[in-house]
Symmetry: C2
Subunit: 440 residues, 2 copies
């Protein structure tokens, strides 16, 4: 991408209406613009990050055997009357009447719709278990939307729903999603800790929130340092390994983690002081087991092995995809701007000419940019005729993991500067070495 | 994908409420289910096709230099008051009041929103031209939704918007999208013919519809056989080549094509009889130049080279992404089901065991499936314990380009049958040869 032909409106000043750092930085770095209260347009750079996060979520869901589909945003009110939630749901539900005066709503979640679809299509125990998911925009009409995309009204969520013949099967589906979540967040370069939720909708131990650690988080959290040491992504644990998944669940359950609501001082005291971690956190995912709550209310049944009808047991599994953009920024930034983990960065590398009027610099930068593109390295090339200092400040603000700074003095000696955004380290090296480093 | 673990509900009978073949086949082959009048859930196989179509549209937009972003589905009514369209737009606009009784709407299109965003961010002539696009769900509250996703209420559209300093620049942006459209539809394996639209919103020659030919199309069309011979995809024409793009436009403009509304018998008569093509067609795209209609109404200005304010000239460019799924089926099916062009097929290959209780067949099929996956060939493997004939009928119905049929007799002799869906050709050949053919 050439910045001179892109759409990257950055702001020098922090907008006064933004209260938290991620909201400020998302506005300043040109990721989003508000188009109505709590509703945002994703500008090109923001949408790139959103798509990367979405794709990681998708890949880990697929790897876990969940099947992708897409449900519509607008739902019929009658569907929600079947579960009894139409009246129970408060004013956060955006209710709509169409031209024929039929009651509709903008879906805040999809338990009812998917239960109805599955009810019409699945007939036999042989067709279970199944976990289906979609990544779709939802709407919750927050009374006071704030904090940018962290508490917006229109937001992107991944929601998965599992259908099993019995509770034992449903537990396996739950453990499978638990592992998928641990892998998903770790791939995004953030520390997310699973915490038993204060109370699942039907009690029991099968409800976890996933909390990203960030100094500006909304709630206080406590956890064992062990959570920083697990490598979920590289773990050999296979989906389908029932025993291994049970062990994983036991390990997660027995390792201390709690929000201030569930914090237990006496258990906390048993953890070695140097293993106690406290901080603040942002919820980015929530998984639930809810048994037959929807299947029973909506009459979902399949024929069991003995020919008798069985009511499937269900769970649901949400990830706040658009919220994660804000949460990652809360967890990874400095005074100069965003510091993207490489897996979700809009581009891996930014190439900057310090003087666009210096032919040798431009020639070197063009060649480097061309070679990076040939090598498949996602690169933003700031080829604008602007002050070098301003261009560097923009690169820091938008937070690409690597910067290559091309200036007249270096180019005369055949070198460029390679800067790592996260550490600030800068090295002067030959163009070839820089290219080799970035493509390795 | 293993069918035994997938969600692929097929119907033996045509649903009685579906009037056109694409709607029938989309229901029968398990692509969609209606969840409210004119609103559909995309089941896994349907969503795969939708994503493939979306990705082709995206790649060709990117190649043409358009920049992707994402605008929200819900818009503020006030935005539409600025252009005067809020009151002008009829009951097809889904109007909504939020919890604070503010007037909102579900966007049917995004001229106003993007003009407002650009107005706030672009300051100088140096930042133009720009073409921005998004692929987002829209809503039009059709009074009588019908024909499945062909005339649904919630639908996926790609809409691009170009901003130029003057009409000459805007023409170039228009030609660029024209070429991108020709390439886009050709990549999908369908014949789409550009036709001058009856009247652009501001007259002139810069408004084209793109019509996919299908016997069940909504309108009659007439065109020169030359449109069947152009290879837009492989053309050497580069974006940015102003002269080449002008030639392309002149070529398209001078080659006869018309809907029944614009048909000109005297021009038609000048075309050799064996070059005259008539048929029926479905609109899948529409591109417009509309000058300063929105920029003037909404006060979008940038400073020109001489420092004086300039009102940019705009165009908009739509593709009916979800509609294309239906249109491609209309254009490509037979009595047995859908015939997907390879570029949009949900999987390239279907592997079928005729007898899942025959160990040798299963072993051969498993190995083949494993090897196809290793080679990166998208494969659906029907490993269910069902009658072979029913499985083959399902494969024909869902329309994968290639089928590999694994039966006890063939396997005993080391062979499988390879069937090409489009022609029905079947060849018996060794497992190795089949694999080689499918991975070449």
């Amino acid at each position: 991408m050439r910045v001179s032909r892109y759409f990257l409106p950055v702001l020098k000043e922090s907008p006064s209406d933004a209260q938290i750092v991620s909201h400020k930085l998302m506005l300043r770095a040109g990721l989003v613009r508000q188009t109505a209260a709590g509703i945002y347009a994703w500008l090109p750079i923001g949408y790139r990050v959103l798509q990367k996060i979405e794709q990681i979520v998708r890949e880990e869901q697929d790897r876990a055997g969940a099947i992708e589909m897409l449900m519509p945003t607008i739902q019929a009110a009658d569907l929600w009357r079947e579960s009894g939630r139409y009246d129970a749901y408060g004013p956060e539900m955006l209710r709509i009447r169409d031209r024929h005066d039929r009651e509709m709503l903008y879906g805040p979640t999809n338990e009812e719709m998917l239960t109805a679809i599955v009810r019409d299509e699945l007939k036999s125990y042989r067709e279970l278990p199944r976990t289906l998911y979609h990544i779709q925009w939802k709407f919750r009409d927050e009374v006071r939307p704030r904090f940018g995309v962290m508490r917006g009204r229109e937001f992107l969520m991944k929601d998965a729903y599992s259908f099993d013949l019995d509770e034992a099967g449903a537990r396996q589906s739950y453990y499978t999603q638990l592992l998928a979540y641990l892998r998903t967040f770790q791939r995004m370069g953030i520390q997310a800790v699973p915490m038993k939720a204060a109370s699942g909708p039907i009690g029991g131990d099968l409800s976890h929130e996933f909390i990203v650690l960030a100094p500006t988080g909304e709630s206080e959290v406590f956890y064992d340092a062990a959570f920083e040491e697990f490598d979920w992504q590289q773990s050999d644990l296979q989906y389908g390994d029932a025993e291994g998944l049970q062990k994983l669940f036991d390990q997660v359950s027995s390792t201390y983690s709690a929000t201030d609501e569930t914090h237990d001082e006496s258990r906390w005291a048993t953890i070695a002081k140097d293993r106690q971690r406290t901080g603040r956190g942002i919820e980015v995912g929530h998984i639930f087991y809810f048994g037959d709550k929807y299947s029973a209310a909506m009459g979902l049944k399949v024929s069991g092995q003995d020919g008798k009808p069985v009511t499937p047991m269900m769970g649901s599994y949400g990830v706040g995809v658009s919220r994660l953009v804000g949460a990652i920024i809360e967890a990874s930034h400095d005074d100069a701007g965003i510091i993207w983990p490489e897996s979700v960065a809009p581009w891996k590398v930014g190439v900057v000419t310090m003087r666009q009027d210096d032919d040798a610099s431009v020639a070197a930068a063009e060649e480097l940019y061309g070679n990076l593109q040939l090598a498949g390295v996602e690169t933003a090339y700031d080829d604008r005729d602007e002050r070098g200092g301003a261009k560097l400040a923009t690169m820091d603000l938008i937070g690409l993991p690597w910067q290559v700074i091309v200036g007249p003095r270096g180019v005369a000696g055949g070198t460029v500067e390679l800067k790592r955004r996260s550490s600030g380290e800068r090295h002067e090296l030959s163009v070839e070495s820089a290219l080799a480093r970035l493509t390795e």
